[in-house]
Symmetry: C2
Subunit: 225 residues, 2 copies
DNA sequence: TCCATCTTGGAACGGCGTTCCAGATATGTC
DNA sequence: GACATATCTGGAACGCCGTTCCAAGATGGA
């Protein structure tokens, strides 16, 4: 039933606040979200926001959680390997669209609550893969660690303002920077710098997932899977 | 030559500032390092510090760099596998002693400069392992991603005030929290919660390194290594 | 000794997260 | 419909932060 008295603006709610926060993060980066920009965007005062949200940390956690939920909903039916790849790619792409997500994931797994979400979804597939029960935890941990670590590193690439346009440009810049390193100290890094140019990070990321999966097969599933 | 006139206090220097910053981070955590606590500790003013250091980001980068250099100096001679394990453990232990390091590494690889250091040291061993040149970059990336991801996740465990005393206690708390998750949504996580109790994170971390190494062997070194 | 340069300490500034609270708005009761 | 109560709102104010600015102290060469 519609309220009898007209409201000046749409009623404030936790969802509306979190939604606005995500938009601000997406458009203006991590520093773009302040309680002041948020009150302006929502045409309200700080106190009103604090009625729905305990503090900024909780707001960031809620924003992270919302985006993460969408990202993990991929769930196409397929082999455990395909599922794992799909989940990993979902996370990778989510970070690509929301560069602030990488930082938040890193900060929040240092404070719990995020890990179980990813852990659960990967762990189920590890189970289905046929890994013996005693190795579930170790194996899932390794996979999740790789996925989060790699996704976080690739967040650098996503940090350029335009999502895909100057991505190659960015990689070229990093490649050049690596080639300019001290030859005495960084011979290896310089040697592989060329490989950075024009390489596909998604493909590279998936190759890493496959590498870990190959390790799991070799160590825990000795009879060909 | 010693200065003829006596100074009231030891001369300020970049090294002394960074050293004090690391101490403050170690003893009071990430929030404990402010320019005010730093000026108090060094008995000086903010302007004096800014003469030696551009801003707080640079200070944090210098602190991270210093600790990282010490951690990566492990370098015991041995097989490539042993070297990789040693470097990984060095990083793991450094994060254990300096919990703020995990956050800083995560934040700074989203801004370059840290990665090459670790990349170089791991990459050399990947080369020695016999991985074909075309795969150096992918392989090293995967290893570094796992190491940083896992070390970062384990930083949670290090965040308790007393380094080792209540570590088991902490793991028990996490384990209990996982057991209290919604059975509908988190069946897998609940099932492995018990494995958390009293498990050794270092061992677990190393098992992950071995898993990735096994994958590298399986994929890139088909003839037994 | 004097001067140019390097270095210091502290006051001040703007912006942040957060608190506080007076008042507007909704809800329940007769 | 009217009143009491609980819920929600907006904005002023607070304390702390990183940073800037600058007058004054220290240093070293001519």
């Amino acid at each position: 039933m519609a309220p009898r008295t007209r409201r000046r603006t749409e009623a404030l709610s936790r969802e509306r606040i979190v939604e606005a926060a995500v938009e601000l993060l997406d458009t203006s980066g991590e520093t773009g979200l302040t309680f002041r920009t948020l009150t302006e965007r929502l045409a309200t005062g700080a106190g009103a926001i604090y009625w729905h949200v305990a503090n900024k940390d909780e707001l960031l956690a809620a924003a992270t959680d919302g985006v993460l939920t969408t990202a993990l909903r991929a769930g196409s039916p397929g082999s455990p390997r395909d599922e794992i790849r799909a989940v990993a790619l979902g996370l990778f792409d989510a970070i690509d669209h929301h560069p602030w997500l990488a930082t938040q994931l890193a900060l929040q797994l240092a404070r719990g609550s995020v890990t179980p979400r990813i852990f659960e979804v990967i762990g189920r597939q590890v189970r289905e893969l046929g890994v013996p029960k005693g190795q579930w935890f170790t194996t899932t941990s390794a996979l999740v660690s790789y996925i989060l670590g790699a996704a976080g590193q690739n967040a650098t690439n996503a940090r350029s303002a335009v999502p895909h346009a100057n991505r190659d440009e960015f990689l070229n810049a990093v490649s050049s920077a690596w080639e300019d390193l001290d030859p005495e100290e960084y011979p290896f890094t310089r040697a592989v710098a060329a490989e950075l140019r024009g390489h596909d990070d998604r493909e590279q990321f998936l190759a890493g997932v496959d590498l870990v999966l190959a390790g799991i097969t070799a160590v825990h599933l000795p009879r060909a899977e």
